[in-house]
């Protein structure tokens, strides 16, 4: 878990955190928005960055770690440039989750939980993403991709890759 890269909050991020604090009567309540800001800037939240977030909020760092460890959308280790969340819950499973998963794993050459060697994609799974009408579906970064088939998934990956 050693931090190879020193992560620091930019001035913009610090200003955004201050802004978030203004929306709540306590500093602690801003820990989720602050972590979102930090993660958006760095991709994941290292121990060093957690400390900076705590400083910025003026709260004990263990409060930051409590949030980091409880909420699954926060990454505490380096992840790929794009994070893929496959929905593994019932409606997606009924409509072909297993095939989508197999296709993704073979196209990317990795298993769930891993990151491609070029650092482009991390493949994870999540519970129902609230898009069961488009099952099977996945989320990549902040976009949903619905009605997937083993045939159209390659296009989706190409599109994401070329979007930078």
């Amino acid at each position: 878990m050693s931090d190879t890269v020193d992560q620091h909050l930019s001035d913009d991020a610090k200003a955004a955190i201050k802004d978030a604090m203004g929306r709540y009567p306590t500093a602690r309540a801003a820990v989720l928005p602050a972590l979102w800001i930090a993660q958006k800037e760095h991709g994941y939240v290292s121990n060093g960055l957690a400390l900076e977030v705590a400083d910025e909020l003026g709260i004990p760092v263990n409060w930051v770690h409590e949030a980091l460890s409880f909420y699954v959308l926060f990454h505490t280790e380096k992840v790929g440039k794009h994070v893929i969340w496959m929905c593994r819950n019932l409606s997606c499973w009924l409509c072909g989750y297993e095939e989508i998963k197999a296709q993704l794993e073979s196209t990317l050459g990795i298993k769930e939980g891993e990151t491609t060697a070029d650092g482009e994609f991390t493949l994870l799974s999540n519970e129902c993403l609230g898009a069961c009408g488009g099952a099977p579906m996945i989320q990549i970064d902040d976009q949903y991709y619905e009605n997937l088939t083993p045939d159209n998934i390659g296009q989706v990956l190409d599109q994401v890759r070329s979007s930078g």
Binding site: F70, L90, S91, W93, C95, Y97, E99, Q143
Partner: protein
């Protein structure tokens, strides 16, 4: 002349989420009349008379909930809109926020007026980035137009509305876990009492309502309690959004009057089954509610009372359809995995029970189960019922009990043959 639907009175396709679009559909007209001519008590009474019930899952009468809320206090008072929508099979709040966010915002302002609340937080689940963008844009537009902020429409009413973005935890949809999460803590449900109406977020009185519930309020103001009651039944008033998914031809979000025959819903709205295989089972209200066999499903109606009579619940309206040929052992294993993953871990029967159930069901699915496992599953489910701080444990106990009551032969078959179930679902 029949009244328009409560939520989906627009054609999908255009930019229905903008203020202009909403205003062309009479948007914010209700708020203007409320602030001009209606007292706070009148609005509370109106919501009570409308028969509106909470659409987040529990179906608690909204007017009654609001009546517990203190009127005059020296503290701040809060409304939280529950937009955490994570009950598997449910996606109607997401649809409302992406396509019609202003109706929710108008509902928020009217609700806060009626409740004497000064601040509203909309707790949006962390994965819902598109909702967050749409709702944030709608809040900006509404502030610009003077519908939120200071001295709303010159009435002297002040209200701030903020988005609070979750970060991936189903349990934060439970209202007291939501409050912990809003305070920046891990989302562990609180023991009640005290109830949120007395001690909610930041130690202050708080009401939590679902997106769909709040979005119904402007309609009730515009058309009156009687107008709202032209839909639905005596006890289940109004319309309900159903999120339809699974093995059907036309998955999607549909609004129907409560009391609508399930058979009609499946055949008309859902377009029937997606292929040649017949109907096997329906989970009518989200993953937590007891499963219905195809025959049971076809004989019931979509309202709180009919579904209770059929031995299940309306829940969040997550309507999941399962065709013949699907392994119910695998289906239950998937649900158990979900609850085991999402248990917050505070209560032993839940933490241990959900984990045990998942491990046992996986074993059975892989052809390594024993007949004692089935009794143990029922024992575990029994232990998980009514013994815990929140009802997440019950939310797995109910599927376990109903699956074993209605599809026990499939579990026994699996144990008898010792054959693993091939990864089903498919196509």
């Amino acid at each position: 002349m029949s009244l328009p639907l409560v939520h989906l009175d627009f054609e999908p396709g255009g930019e229905t989420w903008t203020l202009d679009s909403y205003k062309s559909r009479d948007g914010y007209a209700a708020l203007e009349t409320v602030l001009k001519d209606r007292s706070r008590d009148e609005i509370r009474d109106l919501v009570k008379e409308s028969g509106l019930r909470g659409r987040g899952g529990a179906g608690f009468p909204t007017g009654l909930k609001w009546s517990f809320f203190p009127k005059e206090t020296p503290y701040a008072k809060y409304l939280c809109v529950n937009a955490d929508e994570s009950e598997p099979g449910t996606f109607k709040d997401r649809y409302l926020m992406e396509w019609n966010p202003h109706q929710m915002i108008e509902g928020i302002v009217i609700a806060c007026y009626a409740l004497y609340a000064d601040v509203c937080y909309i707790y949006i689940r962390g994965e819902f980035d598109e909702c967050e963008r749409k709702v944030a844009q709608a809040i900006d537009e509404a502030r610009e137009a003077g519908y939120i902020g200071k001295n709303i429409l010159g009435s002297g009413l002040d209200l701030e509305v903020h988005i609070h973005k979750g970060a991936g935890a189903y349990i934060c949809g439970e209202e007291t876990a939501l409050m912990e999460s809003l305070e920046g803590k891990k989302g562990q449900p609180r023991s009640k009492p005290p109830f949120p109406a007395q001690v909610g977020i930041f130690g202050c009185p708080t009401t939590v309502n679902n997106v769909e519930t709040i979005a119904a309020v402007p309609y009730i103001v515009r058309h009156g309690a009687d107008g709202y009651r032209t839909f639905g039944t005596e006890k289940s008033a109004g319309t309900k959004l159903f999120s339809a998914s699974g093995h059907i031809a036309k998955p999607g979000v549909y609004e129907v009057p409560l009391g609508y025959p399930l058979k009609d819903f499946l055949e008309k709205e859902c377009g029937g089954m997606r292929g040649d295989k017949p109907l096997k089972a329906v989970i009518p209200g989200g993953s937590s509610v007891p499963v219905l066999t195809g025959d049971e499903a076809m004989a019931t109606h979509l309202d709180y009372e009919s579904l209770a009579d059929a031995g299940t619940m309306l829940g969040s309206g997550g309507f999941m359809v399962i065709e013949e040929g699907t392994s119910m052992v695998s289906v239950l294993r998937i649900l158990a995995h979900f609850y085991a993953d999402e248990s917050c871990g505070q209560c032993t029967p839940c933490r241990e029970g959900t984990g045990w159930a998942y491990a046992t069901l996986s074993r059975i699915e892989q052809g390594r189960g024993s007949f004692e496992d089935l009794d143990m599953l029922l024992d575990v489910a029994d232990n998980m019922t009514g013994n815990t701080i929140c009802v997440l444990a019950d939310a797995l106990a109910m599927p376990i009990q109903s699956f074993l009551a209605k599809f026990r032969h499939e579990f026994e078959e699996c144990i008898r043959t010792g054959e693993p179930i091939a990864a089903a679902g498919g196509h």
